[in-house]
Structures are given as structure tokens and as C-alpha cells.
């Protein structure tokens, strides 16, 4: 009696749930995925959306109330950009300079280096590590090392200049030299990443194409121009998008390399993100700072879409 009761119960249970092993696996996968997704939504997506809302308010984090001001923060932004000189204007101009100089230089250097690394066999791993190492090192640590290298009189670079009887340079202390000085660190540090991605791209190109080109007697330049470059196009697009975004978001090196993190001298190194930080946390204009992030977001979005459209077309 007891036994038969037990069996019928189990039969009912099987009907109700129909939990197969495969289904259970899927459900568990979703449960595990849900945790990072909820975390990501709460920590990244919700605050990002919240920034849009903040940009429409006179948002002072210390205040009890945050009055709605419509597009006032955006009007202020336009006013600032129309001035002859303003920190906001300098931030946008500098960010454009970092981007327009940094991305092409970084990608060209990385491509040259990866082409060479692709050729060598002896100690190739060692060289790859050497180029990749800066990328995995803390930006702040590197920035401080560079700051010391650039120091007047006792900095390594100025010591070497003195040794060969060249005049000392102010580097970070001069409004004209400061931006290139910061930029060289960023280019150097981010290059390792581009090199590794280029190397992976180069490995994807079938050797038979090169062999065929060799049989046809193509020069090295022609091989590069008509085989390597076109087949590397997806890699280039990928890096172009990624590096553009990273240059637009530049912040830490400027914070660490300039006096008291002010992006000086004379706003010559400040970036949009540094401006956002200073407006939000030293002047407590979080609404205005949010309007800057929204504009930066729009820029990143537009530039990324254009790059994907224009550059991806040539893949086929």
C-alpha cells in the first residue's frame, strides 16, 4: 500500500514539473547570469541613465532639493564654448587634440611594431611581453614615473639633454609642451594592447596568399598594400573604435601628471572627463557636469557609428 502510494506520487510529480537535466542546466545558467546582469544594470546602466536626468536639474549633491532647470545646463555649456577662453572649451579642444593625434600615431606605431614582431622568431615572446607590459601596469604608477622623467634639471630626459648640450625643456610645466608630454605616455601605454590585437589579426591571414604573391613576384610594399592591409581591415576598425573611445575618456594620466590634478598649466592638458570630475566634485555643479557627460556620450556614439559605417564598408 505504502509503496504503491509512493510510486503514484512520483508519477504525478513528474507530470507537473517535467524538469529534465538539460532544462535545469539552462535555468541555472540564467540564474548565474542574472547576478552579473543585475549588478551591471544597477552599477553601470542605471547611473548612466540617471546622468541624463541630473543634467536637467540644478544638481548640488550637498543640497536637500535638486530643482528642475530644463536645458539651462546645456545653455551654459554652449555659452562656455562660445567664449574666447574657458576651461570647458579648453577641455573639448584638448580632447580633440588627444584623439586626432593619439589614435593615428598609436595605431601606425602599433602596426609597424606588430609587423616586425610577426617576422621575428628568436625571443619573440620576450619582445611581445616588453610591449604588452605597460598596458597591464597601473596608469597612475606610470604617470608618476613619467612625471619624474620630465622633471626639470634632475629628470632623466633633461639630464640626457644636458649631456648632449641641448637646452633643457620644461615639458609638463609649459602650456605648449604639456599636452604632447602627456600624450606620449598614453600612446606608449596603450600601444601594447593594439600590438597584441594586430598580431592576432596578422595570424588570421592565410600564408597561402603571401606564397601566391611571392610566386607572382610582388614587392614587399605591394604585399602589404594589397594583402595585409585589406585583410587586416576588421582589426583596424575594431582598434579604431576602441582606441577612439579610450582617448575620449582620458582622465587618469592628466589627473596624476599635472599639478594638483588641475589639468594645467593654463588648462593646456585638461580633458572633458577631468572637467566633469572637477565641476562635479570641487564645484558641486553636478547638473552641469552631467550635461558634459551627456554631450561626451553623444560624441562617442556618433563617432563610433560613423567609424563602423565608413571603415567597415571596405571590408567586403
Amino acid at each position: 500500500m505504502a509503496t504503491s502510494h509512493h510510486t503514484s506520487n512520483r508519477a504525478n510529480a513528474d507530470k507537473r514539473f517535467r524538469w529534465t537535466l538539460a532544462r535545469r542546466k539552462v535555468v541555472w545558467a540564467y540564474i548565474f547570469l542574472a547576478i552579473p546582469i543585475i549588478f551591471f544594470a544597477y552599477i553601470r546602466i542605471y547611473p548612466a541613465l540617471f546622468a541624463f536626468q541630473m543634467s536637467l536639474h540644478d544638481y548640488n549633491p550637498l543640497a536637500a532639493e535638486q530643482p528642475y532647470v530644463g536645458l539651462e545646463n546645456y545653455e551654459k555649456l554652449i555659452d562656455e564654448l562660445n567664449k574666447r577662453k574657458s576651461p570647458t572649451k579648453a577641455a573639448f579642444q584638448n580632447t580633440a587634440n588627444y584623439l586626432l593625434l593619439g589614435v593615428p600615431i598609436q595605431l601606425c606605431l602599433a602596426l609597424m611594431i606588430s609587423l616586425m614582431l610577426n617576422e621575428i622568431r628568436f625571443m619573440s615572446t620576450f619582445y611581445r611581453i616588453m610591449f604588452f607590459l605597460p598596458f597591464v601596469t597601473s596608469t597612475i604608477a606610470i604617470a608618476w614615473v613619467f612625471r619624474m622623467l620630465y622633471q626639470p634639471r634632475f629628470g632623466l630626459i633633461n639630464v640626457m639633454l644636458q649631456l648632449v648640450s641641448l637646452p633643457q625643456q620644461p615639458f609638463l610645466n609649459n602650456p605648449k609642451q604639456a599636452l604632447p608630454s602627456v600624450l606620449s605616455l598614453v600612446i606608449w601605454q596603450g600601444m601594447g594592447f593594439a600590438v597584441i590585437i594586430f598580431l592576432a589579426g596578422l595570424k588570421q591571414i592565410p600564408r597561402t596568399y603571401y606564397e601566391a604573391a611571392e610566386v607572382d613576384g610582388a614587392s614587399r610594399w605591394h604585399t602589404f598594400r594589397f594583402i595585409t592591409l585589406p585583410l587586416l581591415n576588421p582589426t583596424i576598425v575594431f582598434l579604431l573604435v576602441l582606441q577612439t573611445i579610450s582617448f575620449l575618456r582620458m582622465f587618469a594620466p592628466v589627473l596624476a601628471m599635472t599639478e594638483q590634478g588641475r589639468g594645467g598649466p593654463l588648462d593646456s592638458t585638461t580633458t572633458v572627463v577631468l572637467r566633469v570630475y572637477r565641476e562635479a566634485f570641487t564645484s558641486f555643479n553636478m547638473g552641469y557636469a552631467s550635461s558634459l557627460t551627456v554631450v561626451l556620450f553623444a560624441f562617442i556614439l556618433i563617432i563610433t557609428i560613423i567609424q563602423l559605417r565608413v571603415t567597415a564598408r571596405r571590408i567586403n
Binding site: D58, N60, P61, L62, A63, A64, E65, P152, R153, Q168, P170, N173, N174, P175, E259, Q260, G261, R262, G264, P265, L266, D267, A280, F281, T282, S283, F284, M286
Partner: protein
């Protein structure tokens, strides 16, 4: 089921942990939170004051948060406020008070505990002058003024009398030139020992604004503090005098030798203008330094002026929401601003007691290092800032325009005045 149980247990544990402090507080114990930025001497002094206060007031517990570095202090306050946490009593730079009042973060000091008569009678004039919008919003334990530091060894080596520091601005320039040493041509880059390095990011913007300008016969702002007036003939003369150390006399620069302050502490600079808080830095980092302190040199009009400033304690909106906590906060504030607290403070931090009686104590006035700072309190001015950081930046940029961009000092000052006026106008426009 097992998971649900586990989650339930976890939730209860978390709730208990966060309620722990509340449970304690319900046990007739009022807990208030006090925040200041991390500066070891101040932290130690405050720990001592808190221990004394808790012994006298067994029903109150003060939680001391002093882990936040100076550079992040404002960030942390800004992050804590929307989260509904943060201090009941907070120590802020006096120049930040208008911005914090503007945000509604601070509440006025209660009349019965800190009446205007009491403040006027007992505190340094710069504290008494801090009334804003008809109320006092904060009250300090200690105040500081600027004075002149000089390196006696460098003076002796340059053939100057190590015991007689420059008394006026002309002597100051002459001494700076006499003590500058170059390795090669007369060029800022070749300096191995500085006479004086002007650094607007440190204290020199104060020296210009509140001291030199007045000594040249000008004034930094209109009497109501709402109009910038330093872009005058007098302002231009004072600004040119200070800029000349780097552009003309080439006696030093903030860009070399690890910045002007470190250069003095390390013994590489002869003359330096700074506050009494630097005494502790020197004692810690270079106790061997053979230096003296004197009042700032008198100006062309023979007058003495100095800049006064202070870190000051205010009561927050958060404390005001709960009568019991507010009462405890007021008691705590009274305790840490007594002359006795000021005396404890001067001994460990080097800042002078805010209550005038303790600050002009015989022992302090006779002290060769603290005496000149204490003497300065009588003729000190504390600038009214609407956005201290931005207003400082304006003068840093003006100086950079002169020394790096080759701009004429008068033109640079005009540009600075226009930008600063806009900052001040926009602050008042929103009030």
C-alpha cells in the same frame, strides 16, 4: 527551500549588523558622527578632545571619521549627502562655508550656545567677520596666519646676517637675489638654490590678494565683497612685484626643485611665505632645518597685513533632523572650541587658538616660531570666497599667463578680474 532559508539567515545577519549601532544608541546613548580630513596632527588632537568630551558626557559617543585624504574630502561629503549618511559635525575650510550654506548642508549655529556677542567678544576678528546671511554657520578651534620663513644657513652663507630677516619689500627682493645660486647662466633652469620662488598654487595668491595689494594701497574686493577691485593700478604694481621673482630677478620657480614648499623644507630656498601649519611639516620631514619665522615684511605704505584662515566646525542638516543628536552636536561643538581646546591644539598642530585670550597667551607671543603668527592675528584678513578652488585657480592662471605666456601683468590681472567677477555674480544670482 534550503536556499531560501540561507538567504533569510543572511538577510537577518545583514540587518542585525547594520542595526547594531542603532541598538546601542537606543540604550540611552546618543551617537554623533564627526568628520575631518586626514592630517595626522589634527587627528591626534581631536582624538584627545573626544576622549575628554566623552568622559565628561557619558551619554554621548562621538564617532571620529578621519580616514579621508584632503584631496577626496569634498568628494566624500558630496557622495555621503545623497545617501543620507555622513557627519553631524564636520570640519570645513572657512572658504568653503558659503558654498555649503548655499546648498543647505549646514544649519546656523544655535543662538543660545553661540550668541553673536559671545563670538565677537571671545574669538579672533577673522572669525567674528565670518557672519554670512545674518548668521554664524561654523566655529573654529584654531586659526592660522601667514608669516615669513627664512633659512638662516643660506643667509649666513650669502654673507647676510642670519638673525635679521628682511623687514620690508625692498629688503626682501635684495635678500632673494643675494641668496640665489645658479649652475651656469642666470636662468631659472640653472638654479641650484632659490632666493624666493613665487607659487600661486600654495600661499602666494593670499599674499598677493590680502597683503601686497593692501600694502600698495589697493583693495582686493569692494566692501560688500561682491565686486573684484584688484585690477587697479595698485593691484598691477603688487602683482608685478611678485611676478618679477620668476620673470625678472629669476630667484626661483615653483616648477623646479620639487615645488616651492618642498624646496624650502628641504633647505633649497632662502625665503618662503607660509602658515604656521608648516612648522609641523618641517619638524617631521627635516628637523635639522635651521630656520626662523618673522612677520611678513611691511609694504611701501609702511603697513602690516597678513592673510588669516581656519578650518572650522559646522553642524549639518542631518544632525538638525534629530533633536537629541542636535543637542549632542552642540555640546560637542562647544567643547572643542574652548580656549583649553585651543591650547591643546596649538601644542600638537601648531595652529593658534581661535579664542583671542588663548592665542595672545604670553608663552605663545614669546615663542620665536609661533610669536610672529600670533602677532599677525591682529592685522589679518580672511578673504570671503564663494568658490575657493575656482577663485584660487583664477590667480594661478593669471600668474601662469605672465610667467609662461609672457603676458603683461596688468593685462593678466584684468582677465583674472573678469573671470572672478563672473564667478561671484553667478553665486549671488542663485541666492
Amino acid at each position: 527551500m534550503r536556499f531560501i532559508k540561507l538567504f533569510a539567515v543572511l538577510a537577518v545577519l545583514i540587518a542585525l549588523a547594520s542595526l547594531g549601532s542603532v541598538a546601542l544608541a537606543q540604550d540611552d546613548m546618543i551617537e554623533i558622527e564627526y568628520w575631518q580630513y586626514n592630517f595626522q596632527a589634527r587627528v591626534d588632537a581631536m582624538n584627545e578632545l573626544i576622549a575628554q568630551f566623552e568622559a565628561e558626557n557619558p551619554g554621548i559617543k562621538v564617532v571620529h571619521n578621519s580616514d579621508i585624504p584632503y584631496a577626496n574630502f569634498r568628494d566624500e561629503l558630496a557622495a555621503s549627502a545623497p545617501a543620507g549618511v555622513g557627519p553631524d559635525v564636520v570640519t570645513l575650510f572657512y572658504g568653503w562655508i558659503p558654498a555649503f550654506v548655499d546648498a543647505g548642508y549646514l544649519v546656523p549655529l544655535p543662538e543660545d550656545a553661540f550668541s553673536e556677542d559671545f563670538i565677537l567678544e571671545h574669538f579672533s576678528p577673522m572669525v567674528a567677520n565670518s557672519k554670512f546671511e545674518g548668521s554664524y554657520w561654523a566655529i573654529p578651534t584654531a586659526v592660522r596666519s601667514l608669516a615669513m620663513f627664512w633659512n638662516k644657513d643660506i643667509f649666513a652663507a650669502a654673507g647676510l646676517d642670519p638673525e635679521s630677516p628682511p623687514a620690508n619689500l625692498d629688503d626682501f627682493v635684495a635678500a632673494a637675489i643675494a641668496t640665489t645660486v645658479y649652475d651656469g647662466d642666470m636662468d631659472v633652469f640653472n638654479i641650484t638654490q632659490q632666493g624666493h620662488a613665487a607659487a600661486f598654487a600654495s600661499q602666494d595668491h593670499h599674499w598677493f590678494r590680502e597683503v601686497l595689494l593692501r600694502q600698495y594701497g589697493g583693495a582686493p574686493y569692494s566692501d560688500d565683497g561682491r565686486t573684484v577691485t584688484y585690477n587697479s593700478e595698485e593691484g598691477c604694481a603688487a602683482f608685478s612685484w611678485l611676478s618679477a621673482f620668476e620673470t625678472e630677478h629669476m630667484t626661483g620657480s615653483n616648477d623646479i626643485l620639487d615645488g616651492s614648499t618642498n624646496a624650502f623644507v628641504n633647505g633649497d630656498t632662502a625665503l618662503h611665505v607660509d602658515g604656521s601649519f608648516r612648522i609641523g611639516t618641517i619638524a617631521r620631514n627635516n628637523p635639522e632645518l635651521n630656520y626662523g619665522v618673522a612677520e611678513l615684511p611691511v609694504g611701501p605704505n609702511g603697513e602690516r597685513h597678513t592673510f588669516g584662515s581656519y578650518w572650522t566646525h559646522g553642524i549639518t542638516r542631518r544632525a538638525n533632523d534629530d533633536p537629541a543628536r542636535l543637542e549632542a552636536a552642540v555640546k560637542f561643538l562647544q567643547f572643542i572650541t574652548t580656549p583649553a581646546a585651543g591650547t591643546l591644539w596649538v601644542n600638537s598642530v601648531g595652529e593658534l587658538p581661535a579664542q583671542a585670550a588663548a592665542a595672545s597667551d604670553e608663552a605663545i607671543l614669546a615663542d620665536p616660531i609661533l610669536g610672529p603668527f600670533s602677532a599677525g592675528l591682529a592685522y589679518s584678513h580672511a578673504t570671503f570666497f564663494v568658490d575657493e578652488s575656482a577663485q584660487r585657480q583664477v590667480l594661478i592662471d593669471a600668474f601662469d599667463n605672465v610667467r609662461l605666456g609672457g603676458m603683461d601683468p596688468c593685462e593678466a590681472l584684468d582677465e583674472a578680474a573678469a573671470i572672478e567677477q563672473e564667478l561671484i555674480d553667478s553665486f549671488w544670482a542663485s541666492r
